[in-house]
């Protein structure tokens, strides 16, 4: 029984290019207060283009209807729960949008004189300090654009420190449960990736680690809690093993939503980590960005942080571009400032005690879901979970229904799917992360939907295998899209 949703008509809408016709316009410029120029004369005859072929021409009303209609074809957090594991799709407070648009912040030019940018710099300094306190680390850079760039920054920092100690080393160790960005990052930083197996209980295998760590290992990249949602109980010992051999511990902070106010990476041996402000700190995912990926480090790595760095000079903020040992810039200017403003607004709203309460509710929601769904789905790793829980489709697969099918059927029940087939160490994974911003009613509906689908698999597997049935777009042929790529519109 599907209780959360029922269908309603959605508008059809052509592409902009198909609804365009010459002479329509949604723009009006003011009259020029200076003489007009002849394009060929001002810019050089050979430099002036003909009209842009195929570029749209639509009216203002059509433009707003176009995007509004398209928007209704999306699922979003504002519609309901988004249980994507490791993605931390939590509520995006609207106050954050408002403050990021205050004119003195939104229109600040990155090159405006420092005395006229003190407010922006203060916001960044305050966020740096808050993130340092939350992570238990000594220094923070806000420059990286998103998590993957934060990882790159972190690994380059490690490389720089090891180089200074005489040998950058060759290898980065990565557990088999890691996100794909970890090995991709290590490769870009010039390291060879060596996978380390997890134990039967899904955590770091200390004996395997001990064997793997030699003079060639620069660092271990670990996500904690790991992608099973399980806290790495041996993390302190793992750090000791690494440190004893001169290697470092990198933490992927993608799952920091399970730790804020409860445990701090800086206190359990982590040397460098990144945070995803678009996960733990509530900045909107926006259909795939923008994010921000601050990196927090221990003292020894601070001299290598990207330039410029904030510094206090005679009671004012200033940018310090001079750092002999810095790894350099990882992007232009200072970071995704607009995202940083939103994250600070979130931290201010919660405050210290509130952030901890958020963590508690995030874990409570995930544990509750686990308890309710355990009778219906296989739980390959029974260790206590934190903010997310990973089931496998083993029972359903016996009847020919895979995790991807279950996920698509969830859409008919009015929910976004969970994360499918990840982490890779779980065959047919269902990775579920509710976050703290779901109430009991929404979660109970989700649980009911999952149980109902589990029963459907037994009574009517074909129904599940061909889901979704209620969406305006039915199952999409992704194979055809890749075989013969059509990546842009062209006139018929």
């Amino acid at each position: 029984m599907i209780r959360k949703v029922r269908s309603h008509p959605s508008q059809n809408e052509a592409l902009l290019f198909e609804r365009s016709s010459p002479g329509k316009r949604a723009w009006q410029l003011p009259d020029l207060d200076v003489p007009a120029v002849d394009a060929a004369e001002a810019l050089g005859a050979g430099n002036v283009r003909a009209e842009i072929p195929g570029f749209p021409e639509v009216s203002e009303v059509e433009a707003i209807r176009h995007f509004t209609r398209l928007s209704t074809w999306n699922y979003a957090i504002d519609h309901g729960m988004y249980p994507l594991g490791s993605c931390t799709m939590k509520y995006n407070p609207r106050i954050n949008e408002l403050v990021a648009r205050i004119e003195g912040l939104a229109w600040a030019h990155p090159y405006q004189p420092e005395p006229l940018a003190q407010g922006a710099m203060e916001v960044m300094a305050r966020l740096e300090a808050a993130l340092a306190e939350i992570t238990g680390m000594d220094a923070v850079t806000l420059q990286p654009s998103a998590g993957a760039q934060g990882e790159l920054t972190g690994i380059l920092l490690i490389r720089a420190l090891l180089e200074q100690r005489g040998n950058p080393r060759q290898k980065i160790l990565i557990p088999d449960s890691a996100h794909g960005t970890n090995p991709a990052t290590a490769a870009i930083a010039g390291y060879v990736v060596e996978n380390v197996k997890s134990t039967d209980t899904g955590v770091l295998d200390l004996e395997a680690l001990e064997r793997a760590v030699d003079g060639g290992v620069a660092a271990l990249m670990v996500t904690n809690p790991n992608t099973l949602g399980v806290f790495e109980e041996n993390i302190v010992q793992a750090a000791e093993i690494l440190h004893a051999k001169g290697a470092m511990l990198y933490m992927d902070g993608a799952n920091m939503n399970a730790l804020v106010g409860i445990a701090r990476p800086g206190d359990f041996g982590v040397d460098v980590m990144h945070l995803n402000l678009h996960k733990t700190f509530s900045t909107p995912h926006g259909g795939g960005g923008p994010g921000a990926g601050p990196v927090a480090v221990k003292k020894a790595l601070e001299p290598f942080l990207p330039t410029p760095r904030l510094k206090r000079v005679r009671g004012k903020w200033a940018w310090d571009f001079k750092s002999k040992r810095s790894i350099g810039r990882v992007r232009a200017f200072y970071g995704n400032f607009g995202v940083l403003v939103r994250a600070l607004a979130y931290i201010l709203a919660h405050g210290g005690p509130g952030l901890r309460n958020a963590t508690v509710d995030a874990v409570l929601n995930a544990v509750y879901i686990r308890k309710q769904l355990e009778p219906y789905f296989d739980l390959p790793y029974p260790a206590p979970n934190m903010h997310e829980v990973v089931f496998s489709d083993e029972r359903q697969a016996r009847l020919g229904v895979r995790t991807g099918d279950l996920a698509k059927r969830l859409i008919d029940y009015g929910f976004h799917p969970y994360t499918v087939s990840f982490p890779l160490i779980v065959h047919g994974a269902l990775m579920i992360e509710p976050t703290e911003t779901e109430g009991k009613l929404e979660i109970d509906q989700f649980i009911d939907a999952m149980i109902s689908i589990a029963k459907e698999v037994e009574t009517d597997p074909e129904l599940v295998k061909h889901a979704p049935h209620s969406t305006r777009t039915s199952r999409v042929d992704e194979v055809a899209a890749a075989r013969k790529p059509v990546l842009r519109w062209k006139p018929a």
Partner: protein, 444 residues
Amino acid sequence: MRYLPKSESERRQMLDACGVESAEDLFAHLPEAVRLRRPLDLAPGISEYEIVDYFRERAAENANGYASFLGAGVYRHYRPVLVDTVVSRGEFLTSYTPYQAEISQGTLTTIFEFQTMICQLTGMDVANASMYDGSTAMPEAAMMAARITGRRRALAARSVHPEYREVLRTYARHQGMPVEEFGYVKDSGEIDLEDLERRIDGETAAVIVQSPNFFGVIDDVNRAAEIAHQHGALLVVVFTEAVSLGILEPPAGADIVAGELQSFAISPSYGGPYAGIIATREKFVRQMPGRLVGQTVDTNGNRAFCLTLSTREQHIRREKATSNICTNQALIALMATVFMTVYGKVGLRELALQNAAKAHYLAGKVSAAFSGKFFNEFVVRCGNPEAVNKALLKHKIIGGLPLGRFYPEMADSMLVCATEMTRRAEMDELSDALRAPAAAEVLA
């Protein structure tokens, strides 16, 4: 707390269902050594009203009510109201990356339109769904050229944005990619093609130029392309001022275009978030970094869109991926899409012409240092730019960017920019100040 939707009694029911006494028990399995046994040293939470107040106070400490002639990669253009109207819709703002195509057709369709418009603007065959920004798109383009050519060397013009070149050096350092630079012509500010010919060799993977370049000068991209291609290298063309593409020839000779779309309704926002793009030839698509949306059909035969060619990407290919990029700039790219839709074919050209008119009016009064043709910014020689700027601030004008920080040989110059938002009266004031260098010295 207002972001936590549970009542105490609901929380109690859930704890009971979990079989635990208190929420603390949920963390009992953590080793004691890792626990934080004190409250975070952060102030208690505050109300919406107080949050707005805090940020208004910070905003008041920044420049407010100043005219500005800063450009240099970040431009002041009017943001049509429709842009925020569209991106504020929760369906766009609060959705995830569109992996689940059936319930993400809104985002997927707008990205397909975005890719199409970027191709139309740049004259390329394919464009990706966005990169972080122009400064990271450029090194990604250089690494892509290295993969395609099987060579390692990158040769960048000194007239490419200096901060972009700094990022390139960071990315290239550990990939065995030597980065070298070639110069500009002293009189014209154009790229020095002779210097390029001298420095290019059989190991060069990418020649990187920017047009309009950092000095605002429109470069001869096609000559650079010929030279690059004669030596088996690829040409990467960078742009930082996307509005220029409304009136300037697209870089026909480029193999890869790496650009920044900040000009398309993206607030300056003290340096980000912006949106970069990479566009290229069809034959290079499988070496491209970043997400791509493709057209396909659903089981009912209806047109549909989905993320595609993902075997290039990190979540599938891991350490063999074309890039480590994951989250990109979807919502910012949507801002640019709405902007391009509002202005359209005619409006973007007219907007570009207004920019050129303003900047050429200003240049008529203060004279550009370089003889090369320019679009909406140019270099002015003014003796002591810092002193000039200091004097201008008293008139609530933020002057141009002093160039000495990036180009020691141009310590006497500043880069000034005028857009459709620059008023004639402001330009007249700037030119008065620039024509009175002695006065500036005195004020300094």
